[in-house]
Symmetry: C3
Subunit: 681 residues, 3 copies
């Protein structure tokens, strides 16, 4: 496991470079990412390439024993290119052009821009092919950032028509799959299909979902142009892309099919401000460990390989509403926490606070004056600890601890995310917060989690948790049924089995194709404003339930009732049921469980599946296991005393973990205990 850094030599005088690179090496940094956004330096005038400056920097990096990661500069085409080819710009749904002036000012489907992309990426790849200090490439930067995943320009209109033709073959099939008799929305030809531009009334949900799929596919296809060119030039290079946090809407699984491994950009104190109504002081200071861990697990699972944090928050940042200073040591905590989840490299963004442009309020490892800031010391500490931890295990720098094992699969799908985003049906429904509710309940028990598609092979998992299998067909039902039949424990959450893959209702009661598996159907559903009472009773104990309630009707000889609604319109109706199938069981949860109910229901599933767990951990504390080591990460403002077995070795820290601190031991998670500290946030 190693530490990296993102470096922009073109922002500084050339004579400064060696001092910078030397200082990186001193900090224990192994990877230096460069070249991102530098098109105007690579090609100051049309057709006149200048790569020498980058080569000098790469050479320097190599001279100091480090490796370079290069970026294609396509996220920021220069002004001369935009002025020559204004057709590359995106359009809003209302037709407004997204102009030059920031970044990501190009359309994935622009034939012009694809040609320009091939030109610049090809030239770069050719120049740096076989350079010994170049380890690999990052394509572009954060596809979809700033809401640019979806464009509504004429190039997209053309491409969408082609995508539909390829998907459906003939327009009658499209009409049938979408169900266009509704409101006279039948198309006579693919040429009549448009992007879902500004309208007075709502759009057809099937058309929208396909547009979202098309947009994601467009980015995937665009990325593939780059990965192919890079691999053609040098097939020893790795190729990755730096994803955003899980608030992104791009299908990361699809992109990852073209990558060697995934990387992502981790800004814990920013991400935590994006969805939650209430942010605690500890979250302002260090983020939320499950909000963070879910991304680590997602991007690791997307390829099954160790991932990178390509950009790690180095201190205060510029883009969230608030930017309180991170807690002392938080930048090291994040690095260790990433490693614990399977990161091989944690690369801080950026080397030095930039004096110009849009990110001046974003810290670097160095301050504006070039002197070390808090992040520098944290990064250096993490690098030293990584060396210690990896010492006995890593064969060399390039080979790290094994990918963490996971006993449980969390089933997640971008199609479900998109479809539920099209019809949330209450302002309180948020797909990701719902997923995080279950993820937190799993992680609170120290369980290893893979985040995978519902259609993934689940045979290696003791249990699977699917917060919402919104779009479901018979194939999915069969696969999940076989899993449970064979002994798998499956939890399926509310809003599952509602629609077919084309975003149409099934003509059978919810959960449609999944009804047999869960042994029950949904009689009624309702959204629940906060002002209405909503709760369930399990074994005589009352728990909060919220946002969405479904009233379940077990089939004859079907599921047993685990929980019933208590009070409100659904009083006495079944809320949670469990159906024994073969050697396993499927649990269906008809509501959005509060924290306590999630703890209870997920705990039951884990116990039934025989997964090795801890007791629920104290709030803000999380364990993660990788390569036989256990990380104890403390995201809370309180110290955490650890009760470890005699003879446990501490590779990092010891059994008294300070606020925002981390310790690493060879004791197994289940052998650790944490006293009786209350586990409420």
């Amino acid at each position: 496991m190693n530490v990296g850094v993102c470096y922009f030599p073109e922002h500084w005088p050339a004579e400064r470079a060696e001092a910078d690179v030397e200082r990186m090496a001193e900090a224990g940094i192994e990877y230096v990412r460069m070249g991102e956004f530098a098109w105007s330096r690579f090609e100051p005038e049309p057709g006149e390439f200048e790569f020498d400056w980058l080569e000098r920097a790469v050479d320097l990096v190599g001279e100091y024993g480090m490796q370079a990661v290069l970026c294609t500069p396509t996220a920021a085409p220069p002004k001369w290119l935009v002025d020559e080819h204004p057709d590359i710009l995106q359009a809003e749904a209302d037709g407004t052009t997204r102009q030059y002036g920031g970044r990501r000012h190009y359309c994935f489907n622009s034939p012009t821009y694809r040609r320009e992309t091939r030109r610049i990426v090809g030239a770069l790849a050719e120049r740096f092919a076989d350079h010994p200090a170049v380890a690999g490439w990052q394509t572009d930067n954060e596809y979809g950032c700033h809401g640019t995943l979806r464009c509504y320009c004429d190039d997209c209109a053309s491409a969408f028509r082609g995508w539909l033709r390829e998907t459906y073959g003939d327009v009658e099939t499209l009409n049938g799959r979408w169900g266009t008799a509704f409101w006279s929305q039948e198309l006579n030809s693919f040429a009549q299909a448009d992007p879902p531009r500004h309208t007075a009334a709502d759009h057809h949900p099937s058309r929208l979902l396909d547009y979202y799929r098309f947009c994601s596919d467009s980015a995937v296809e665009y990325n593939r142009i780059q990965t192919r060119l890079l691999r053609e030039a040098d097939d020893d290079w790795f190729v990755t892309h730096n994803f955003m946090s899980h608030y992104g809407e791009l299908d990361a699984y699809d992109v990852c099919a073209d990558l060697d491994f995934a990387s992502w950009d981790s800004y814990p104190t920013g991400h935590v401000q994006e969805r939650r109504e209430h942010v605690s002081e500890a979250e302002y200071r260090a983020g939320n460990p499950d909000n963070l861990g879910l991304d680590h697990d997602l991007y690791r699972s997307a390829t099954g390989e160790p991932f990178w944090v390509m950009e790690q928050q180095p201190g205060d940042i510029n883009w969230p509403p608030y930017s309180p200073q991170p807690a002392a040591g938080a930048m090291r905590l994040w690095a260790q926490y990433a490693a614990a989840h399977g990161a091989d490299v944690v690369s801080y963004f950026r080397w030095r606070r930039c004096l110009t442009g849009q990110e001046q309020y974003h810290a670097g490892l160095l301050e504006r004056d070039g002197e070390p800031d808090a992040g520098y010391h944290d990064a250096s500490d993490a690098a030293a600890e990584f060396d210690d931890i990896g010492g006995e295990r890593d064969a060399d720098d390039g080979e790290s601890l094994a990918v963490p094992d996971a006993d449980v699969a969390l089933l997640h799908s971008y199609d479900d995310l998109w479809a539920l985003g099209i019809e949330p049906m209450t302002p309180d429904f948020d797909y990701w917060l719902h997923v995080e509710t279950y993820y937190a309940a799993l992680r609170e028990r120290s369980v290893g989690v893979d985040v995978v598609r519902p259609t993934a092979d689940l045979s290696g998992y003791d249990a699977a948790v699917a917060p919402s299998l919104y779009l479901a067909d018979d194939d999915l039902a069969d696969a999940l049924g076989s899993y449970v039949e064979g002994g798998g424990e499956l939890l399926v959450g509310m809003r599952s089995g509602v629609k077919d893959p084309y975003n149409k209702l099934h003509d059978a009661p919810q959960p449609g194709p999944l009804a047999t598996l869960v042994g029950a159907t949904v009689d009624d559903h309702e959204s629940v404003p906060d002002s209405l009472e909503s709760g369930v009773v399990v074994d005589g104990e009352r728990f909060d339930a919220r946002v969405w309630n479904e009233w379940l009707s077990p089939a004859d000889d079907g599921a047993e009732v685990v929980a019933r609604y208590d009070g409100g319109r659904a009083d006495g109706e079944a809320a949670v049921v469990r159906n024994a199938v073969g050697e396993g069981a499927a649990t269906y949860v008809g509501t959005w469980p509060g924290e306590e109910l999630a703890r209870t229901l997920v705990g039951d599933v884990l116990d039934r599946a025989g997964v090795e767990t801890t007791d629920p951990l104290p709030a803000g504390v999380r364990l993660a296991n990788r390569g036989g080591l256990t990380w104890v990460a403390n995201f809370s403002a309180d110290p955490v005393p650890v009760d470890a077995p005699d003879g446990a070795t501490w590779h990092v820290g010891d059994d008294a973990v300070d606020p925002y601190d981390v310790a690493v031991t060879d004791a197994a998670p289940s052998s650790l205990a944490f006293g009786d500290r209350p586990n409420d946030a």
Copy 2:
């Protein structure tokens, strides 16, 4: 009184139709609405009409003893038509086109679309003329839905110029009526007049008001194209249109002049979430009886004929922020409540939950699987009860109970709604909530209310309540003066007599032409933020007043003071005055009364007018009288014991009315009592 249903045979396999129709008949349904939005099925290719499928459905309906109501499909022109004629699309005020993709994607003033409308409506009318199973027609669907009443395209610009020329004759008259010397807004010719498109500063209120009038007139004119074609084809047909709830901005009185009767689309749990800050649990479950009753009374009064509920909420719905399940029985309660207010047909929307398109989260009488949902049973119950109630009275299915009598007129005007919407002068002013405040105070006393224009003939009413006669001229003052002179009791609320009909201030103190009638003038007005104290005293008792305070000065020998402000800037000033005129009196209320003050003031007016009333009813309980029968409707979560006179017959239910239940008796409203249940919500 009968039950109907909205049916879309084109959404389902043809072989399903007969089973559906048979099941409708079994439920007691008498009317089946069809054809809405079906243009792409009526004319799959330009000029190729296909009406057979609808005729088969109409035949089936007739075979099962029911009647069909057909719809013109103009609310949803098909894509081929839009692609051929993109000029039919509307434009936003900022010039953005409202594109194809939902519904209502056409401009009322498009000459092209008017021609296309004549073509399709003419063909449909010709085909179904004299069909014995077709009772009548609904034109288009919900004019103005999705904010489409007002368009800013070039066709509208041309039409607006013509409208102004017709209205004012010469541009000097327009300049004078509007008052365009202000900010150099004088026009030299009608050709200079534009729609009020996007500007940096506010628009001229007189120009805006005329544009709003023009937009309403445009819809009226467009509708008339359809009504004429339909009547030309078969003058036995009725012709109606399905209006939206009173949040609509289209002048329903004007449209109704071309209709046989009005119908409207009633979604109680949705409407109640549109304006109120706080929605109670009972309102989430069944709506608010006065929010609902105001629409029933408005659309009945608009033609003086029994109205239809063309679309009755059948269960959970898709468009409000929240959709908790309606209370058990609510769908029957709504049908009975509509009948009590003068509905002859209550037609549920829709027959079966649609599997495709934009309204999948909208319930039907049947669930997605074709099996009866709660609404089916409620509808069937209502149908049976309608038969029982009508049994002795209805000559046959076509003839129902008489239209309810009303002792009181509630004066309401779209011009006032528009003008006050242009200059609300505080974020807390809402025309409709202000009207509802008075309507609730009337209905709480079980008074029959007609909702009519201020210029209506009031001679048949004992009292008239005018929440805001904002635009007023001498003719109105004369008419109201004669009414009071002759013994009428008139209540006039704040913000009355402020402007002339062109939205200019009168050059006399408010209430301008009404000052003589109310015997007082307004010295000052102010908007009142919630954080400031505001109240009045009547007979030593203090009441809340809010939003807007006017300080009144009675004329010499003019009005007596009924209430004075207590505290705040207006402390001691007159807030409510009463002026005896001839055999009646005019009461002027200079503030927005809280619930208690409205109760007191309206109660006084009713008492003075000798209107037969009940005591204030318990919260959520309302009585309505039609054809000698009294409905006791319970919109609350509590049971209501009724104290009825000996010998009272109960046609529906009995003297113990359950939550969300209804009972019908032949006892008069004033003979019923309800114990001492508190009347606060």
Copy 3:
């Protein structure tokens, strides 16, 4: 000191004019402003001028012993001009045209409109040159109102390119000054520079700042066209412009360089609702005295001459969210308060409530019926008092009391306002509220304040307070250093010395060039959400601090620590430091002080500087001194007893000042006392 009024004779029948003018004279009015927005009356048809009507009005004003102030009508070009030249219209950043329909529908950079401006202003100037009753001119009206300071049209694009060329000479210099290597934002030529139109991502802060500068310069240049034409026609005229409240973004100092004196439009109950989260009842009734006084001092300081209130609120107004009636006497209080701060004329807007157009809900001195409203009596009282006060001192009507002296300079800059508006970095940061915090602390001690640029000559001031010197260079540091060296007491607030004048970070620790002067640097900064704890300790006492915290590190032999953070992440770090330099000292405040902390810190500075002050005044009470007289202004709802020295003469009122009342005495502020009324709002 005199009273004036804004009059629109063209809004009323010609025969009404003499009665109006006579009544003005009776009220003691001396100046009548006319002609504003009257282009369509000056030139009803292209090229056909009609100025007779205005000349008649001017003559009348002269006949009644008053003076006319004329306005150029350019804020409202007539429709015929817009239709002939639609290119004069502005564009939004997204390209939407700002259409005709209100006012300010023209672009400052339109060559067409500049030509039209010369035509109409030239014709007016020629016509009224040497008219004895015309005292001077107001150019246009409230430049920038309705968000029109910044336009994004093609004319602006061209002009911006020219402005950049003039500013930077060559594009390499621009690239260097902005720092365009970031995100490939390098320009190859000035022709590539665009206005910052709609983009997906943020704009470059240096480009934005220059665009804001350019927009302000464009208005300045446009205004200069008018001032030159007017002065060419008659150099006895004064020329002024009526600015808006300090929420405006136009650089008033720059505009004032072309004016004889500044005037501004004062609407106290409106301005107070623009930024504050909480508005008190007293503020709804009379505004906030410091919000108001800051504008008086700003516009006085901008030329160093007595200013005018060109538009004084006359009663209720139309544009804020709420418009409670002003307190009785408030319109007189405002006039006196303006005079106390250096106003020579207070001109009420408008004479009579207008019956037409956009401002019907805006009071006048006369009501809609032409009868005096409360404002008329207040204005008349103020006029009489002004005569009394000025009696012994004013040589004649034209010569008033001297401009008030100021011991303290408040340093303020539009560049800082713009730059901090581009990167506020927390939703809670508001430049003006931050400035007001310090201004209030100064005025609470009855100190005279000039509001000047940071680069102003400070030699005449005992102390200087600079809430945020965000953009700072060595020249500024040198000038301020010399000031302190020579004995000046300087307070510098947080977010100072962050950037260079091109909106780039300094490459030295904050406060960059100011570090030597303040003897400390900033180690870290953070934004602070309200939910996090934040406070400082001074001399053992704890005070609230908020919004933004900087942790200071005194240099060796540098500043002493005045306050340290208490609790939170910065616990124990230095928050406020003081550095003795030569004969003075510089105090640096690293946080946004709460009211109490501002009182303490500003009090210390005043004490050290030996400024004569009062004790902190009661809330809502302010003293101001001009020409040897002291005004006691009471903006609170409570009476204020004044403890004045024996022998004090009261020119207005006496030592018992009623709510919203004012008194004037010849006793010095420091000789007055106000008992022990608590000073919290």
